[in-house]
Symmetry: C2
Subunit: 200 residues, 2 copies
């Protein structure tokens, strides 16, 4: 990673902080410069426009989400691996709730921005593929019913985690959200894997 890239990442992290606190409405070249503790000219050195800045920040957020999947401990029953992974995305603490709010803000903006929608689609596609590949391996190891379609199940897992994130964020307190979504997730994963596969 070059010095330029490192500084660019510092600016993108500042965008994320601004979005978490004020939503996408709060983002301007000026507010990001202030949050990053650098000058407006320095922000403009890395990103020519607000649109370019937002696109890069969304890609940065998406890369973080995908990194968590790549880093997850894959030891044990696939149900437990998925449980660990989904818990990394759900807003189970203040830091994760901030991440989740930022993700929702960018997802919503994708509805009216073609550039952001392209990035959103790529993230969704990568996530579904990751889930599908994981479930395919679970079928090969005999942990998951071979009759299931891994692509469809991948789309369902993505829908589940996205939808649970939204419900958790709507809750009045973090604890209410945690109780609601962890129970739901556990029931879903138990049903997905129930009565299938030999014990290893």
């Amino acid at each position: 990673v070059s010095e330029r890239e490192k500084r660019g990442t510092h600016v993108l992290q500042a965008v994320v902080e601004v979005v978490a606190d004020h939503g996408l409405d709060g983002v301007s070249m000026r507010t990001v410069a202030a949050a990053a503790g650098i000058s407006l000219a320095q922000v403009q050195y890395y990103f020519r426009s607000k649109d370019e800045l937002l696109a890069a920040a969304f890609q940065h957020v998406g890369a973080g989400v995908e990194q968590r999947a790549a880093d997850v401990d894959t030891a044990g029953h696939p149900r437990d691996v998925l449980r660990r992974l989904l818990r990394l995305w759900l807003p189970l603490n203040e830091a994760r709730a901030r991440d989740a709010r930022v993700w929702v803000a960018f997802t919503a903006a994708s509805a009216t921005s073609a550039a952001l929608r392209t990035i959103n689609l790529a993230i969704d596609h990568d996530m579904r593929s990751w889930f599908a590949e994981f479930l395919r391996r679970a079928q090969l190891s005999g942990h998951l019913d071979a009759g299931l379609d891994p692509e469809v199940e991948g789309a369902l897992l993505l829908a589940l985690v996205d939808g649970l994130v939204l419900q958790a964020l709507a809750c009045p307190t973090l604890d209410d959200g945690v109780a609601l979504v962890t129970t739901s997730m556990d029931v879903y994963l138990a049903r997905l894997f129930i009565n299938h596969g030999r014990v290893h």
Copy 2:
């Protein structure tokens, strides 16, 4: 419904159109007046501020969503009733995609607005309760495994439909989205009801 309420609803529908085309960023007392074909003073007669306007518009959108559940034809197997209902919310045509974009915009704004979050929570709560009550009746009629927790299954159904809406909106074309989410939904509902209940 009084004349005043009818005119108020006309203004709220104008907010929805502005949000569908330009996102929440595009909403101001002025743009809404223009979209509604009335004067700024007339908008101000109904709503004192942009915040009040947005809160009323979100409530209007939520009421529309809940009305679709109240209106759904409940004849037949509960699996088919749910299938019909979820199809009313998914972005399966341009009009529904507009509705879905508006819902996503308000949901995202709830992350940074306490007033909108309160409304969001109330809508989520009503939807989960509707699903839970529906599933409870499906258990009583022997169509659904009595061992399932209707509250948890209600939260899962809400997560499913919310998550599938997001995935469909991210797709490059409406048709791609339709194919992705209808298949996923059918697989989910088949598994929820599989091997349970007597045939009526």
